[in-house]
């Protein structure tokens, strides 16, 4: 036993809430995507840490993190395709000016 697992959990909580803060304050679609990636990373760290510290005989958290990385790649590809399409049609990705889908 080296580092207490609480240290890892607190680190991932800090990263998660930095991502939340970015999601609240950023006004640009790509920045919002970067913030969600930060949150996603924090969740992945949690899975791996719980598997390493309290569930060592099985590999659930490990596999979840591995599949989560794959799903994050797919999600980012689709989101960036959507953002590029939005930019091509409306010539902006500033979320204040994207009002057509709201109503």
């Amino acid at each position: 036993m080296t580092i207490p697992s609480e240290y890892y959990l607190i680190l991932s909580a800090i990263l998660f809430f930095i991502g939340i803060f970015g999601f609240f304050t950023r006004r640009n679609l790509i920045s919002l995507l970067i913030s969600t990636e930060l949150m996603f990373n924090a969740v992945d760290i949690n899975f791996a840490v719980f598997n390493a510290y309290s569930h060592t005989d099985y590999l659930e958290g490990y596999i979840f993190t591995l599949f989560g990385i794959g799903i994050a790649a797919a999600e980012t590809a689709v989101a960036i395709a959507i953002i590029i399409n939005v930019y091509r049609n409306m010539h902006t990705i500033h979320i204040k000016k994207l009002r057509e889908l709201k109503h």
Binding site: M1, T2, I3, S5, E6, Y7, L11, A13, I14, L15, F17, I18, G19, I20, F21, G22, F24, T25, R26, R27, N28, I30, S31, L33, I34, S35, L38, N41, D44, I45, A48, V49, A52, Y53, S54, T56, Y58, L59, E60, Y62, I63, L66, F67, I69, G70, I71, A72, A73, A74, E75, T76, A77, V78, I80, A81, I82, I84, Y87, R88, I93
Partner: protein
Amino acid sequence: MEETTNIIIFGILSLLMVAAAVAAVISSKIMRAATYLLFVLFGTAGIYFSLFYTFLGAAQITVYAGGIVVLFVFAILLIGKGSVDITHTSKLRYLAGLATSAAGLSLTIYLIRSTSFVTGKFSSAGVSMEKLGNTIMGTDKYNFVLTFEVLSILLLACMVGAILIARKK
């Protein structure tokens, strides 16, 4: 002695990650934000290495740092002049976001500190590739072949969808 080294390495890694995450969230140029995100992703890979999950760290570097950040950079370069983000346009929104995340963070840290987690034996041997492959591709209990196949279909659908959405009419 070894424990002190581990603590120091973890401290350096977590400081780097938190600083890069804050910089990624508050920097006004999106290209810089993507670069700082890259440092956070490398730090996460370091965390996996420090848990002796080497394959996970390698996958993190390959997929995230090699794939997703490149996608981000391509998108930022394609979008060009729209990619300057003026943060905190409204002071009130900035403060509200800060207060919300600080409150949530302190609540989460309080809950983590006041919970006693069940800790098993932390093994520094890591996970052998044989066990990992058997777990992913096996069909027994606690094995994940169905998830693996569903994930492959999801990736195929994402590829088709991304091409369909981003294609020029």
